[in-house]
């Protein structure tokens, strides 16, 4: 046998055996006790090491999750599935209520607004904003060239025929790129659970808004007066909603004369507590206006005078003791 073969085999085999022994030794003697959840979370992640979460790779993110520094839903690539898997490992709720999505604070599409002229420049919002503010008369309106659509890495934004971006809450990951891109600053990140949105950003006076847009906020402040939990504040001729305070009762959308406020939920007519009630007081604690009364372990009752029909008690109840009667139901 040619000695070269022999030498190659022996030397390579020797090197490999030596290195394998070294690594084996190291894995036993230099073992660092780690939270077993770190490995599990790491396995649940996509493993692309893209760094979109803000950490140096998936393993760093996994460690941060286990240490409680990063949210379980912090992986923008994995989406809901990965975050719920991680949530299972961490024993926490998937916190879908914490998920934020982009919302457009303008309802004035091509149909609803008046034009101030014809824009023939570069077809991007940035250019239009820099030159003369596009075609629409309202200087707070959506320019409609879809810079947000272009910048969205998840294809969650599609420009509608009416010239307004439509955001798919399923696809939106709340990365905030469109919010940064929008030159008019009329996009914002709102909790996915928020169902009430004031679709206007105009600080113009009611008179001007009336002339330029069919669905703009005229600053009448009816919504702010109606809101049972003071979640709406009038700021310089514009109603601004505080998503933290809002209980999604939809009362503001009902009174808004211009239809600026969009309520995506169902209006509740009446709330009642039935005999299933075990007197746990969870509903009373959840009620934002203290309309529920009753002692511990006794049937609770809702004071219909005070009740604002927000339905929070329905969500809080564990024993199906709260009945909701919707307005659109006969």
């Amino acid at each position: 046998m040619n000695p070269t073969y022999l030498y190659s085999l022996i030397s390579m085999g020797g090197i490999a055996a030596f290195l394998a022994a070294g690594l084996g030794f190291a894995s036993v003697h230099f073992k660092v006790e780690q939270d077993p959840r770190v490995g599990k979370v790491n396995d649940a992640l996509p493993g692309a090491n893209c760094g979109a979460c803000g950490y140096a790779g998936c393993s760093a993110f996994a460690e941060a999750v286990v240490n409680g520094e990063a949210p379980v839903g912090g992986c923008p690539v994995g989406g809901d599935k990965v975050s719920s898997n991680i949530a299972d490992i961490m024993g926490a709720d998937a916190d879908s209520s914490d998920k934020v999505v982009a919302e457009l604070l303008c309802g004035g599409g091509i149909k609803e607004t008046t034009k101030s002229g014809k824009y023939q420049g570069i077809k991007t919002c940035k250019a239009a904003n820099a030159v003369n503010g596009g075609e629409k008369e309202c200087q707070y309106s959506c320019l409609g060239f879809g810079d947000c659509e272009v910048v969205c890495p998840f294809d969650a934004i599609i420009m509608s025929e009416n010239g307004l971006p439509q955001i798919d809450p399923e696809k939106c990951t709340g990365c905030g790129k469109c919010v940064e891109e929008c030159p008019r600053n009329i996009l914002l990140l709102a909790p996915l659970s928020a169902k009430t949105h004031i679709r206007c950003s105009s600080h113009n006076t009611g008179k001007i808004v009336r002339k330029t847009c069919e669905v703009g906020c005229i600053g009448c402040s009816l919504c702010a007066k109606t809101c049972p939990v003071d979640a709406i504040e009038m700021k310089d001729n514009l109603a601004v909603i505080d998503y933290e305070k809002c209980v999604n009762c939809g009362k503001c959308a009902e009174v808004c004369p211009t239809g600026t406020i969009e309520f995506q939920g169902r209006m509740i007519e009446k709330v009642e507590i039935n005999d299933n009630c075990v007197g746990c007081t969870l509903c009373a604690k959840a009620c934002p206006v203290d309309a529920i009364e009753g002692e511990v372990k006794k049937l609770h009752e809702i004071d219909q005078e005070i009740c604002i029909q927000c339905g929070l008690c329905f969500e809080a109840c564990n024993v199906d003791a709260v009945d909701l009667f919707y307005k659109d139901e006969e």
Binding site: S11, M12, A16, L19, L23, A26, F30, V32, A56
Partner: protein, 196 residues
């Protein structure tokens, strides 16, 4: 004294004149990929310097005592790859146990740099140039310092570029490549600095 001067000159020539990134065009991937922030770029450079110095020492020994001794130069590629990979793995485990602070600083960059062409290029250049052991280690260290210099300079430029008014078509990677080209040309100016 003569030897010391030679070593010093070798170091300077590796850092500036034969810079791995800008003159030899090795390790372009991390040079463009991890050069967005000075801080991370520096960590990457640190990890690279570390791995390169180790690689130089390890591969010199493998090459001299095994491959050259048995006249097996064709095994360079294979043996260097497994040696570098397992060595870095070993060192990573060692650091994790002994120095969590250093482990945090090098972090993910340590395993990432292992399979980089700059490391492999270094390992193959050493037998090609016939360096002694000390010269090899200095060559490896110098290559790492050169890489760090290039990547940190790049990161600094790119950080400033964030505020610059870059035309849309050149935004992002294109302008980075242009900068890399200009930097490479600038580094060519060092070529007359010393003659070995």
């Amino acid at each position: 004294m003569e030897e010391f001067t030679q070593i010093l000159l070798l170091f300077i020539s590796t850092v500036l004149i034969n810079n791995f990134v800008l003159i030899r065009f090795l390790g372009i991937c991390p040079f463009l990929g991890v050069s967005k922030q000075v801080e991370t770029a520096f960590s990457m450079g640190l990890a690279t310097t570390f791995v390169m110095t180790l690689t130089a020492a390890a591969t010199w020994m493998i090459n001299t005592f095994i491959l050259e001794a048995f006249n097996l130069p064709f095994l360079q590629y294979v043996s260097f790859i497994i040696v570098i990979a397992s060595l870095v793995q070993f060192v990573e485990m060692f650091i994790k146990k002994t120095s969590p602070v250093l482990y945090k600083a090098l972090g993910i960059f340590l395993p990432l740099i292992t399979t980089n062409c700059a490391i492999m290029g270094l390992a193959l250049l050493i037998p090609l140039n016939g360096y002694s052991f000390i010269a090899s280690v200095v060559f490896g260290f110098g290559a790492g310092v050169g890489f760090t210099l290039a990547i940190v300079l790049m990161a600094g430029l790119r950080e400033k570029l964030e505020f610059g008014d870059v035309p849309g078509v050149l935004k992002g990677v294109p302008v980075t490549l242009i900068i890399a080209g200009i930097m490479a040309m600038a580094f060519m100016g060092f070529s007359g600095l010393i003659s070995m």
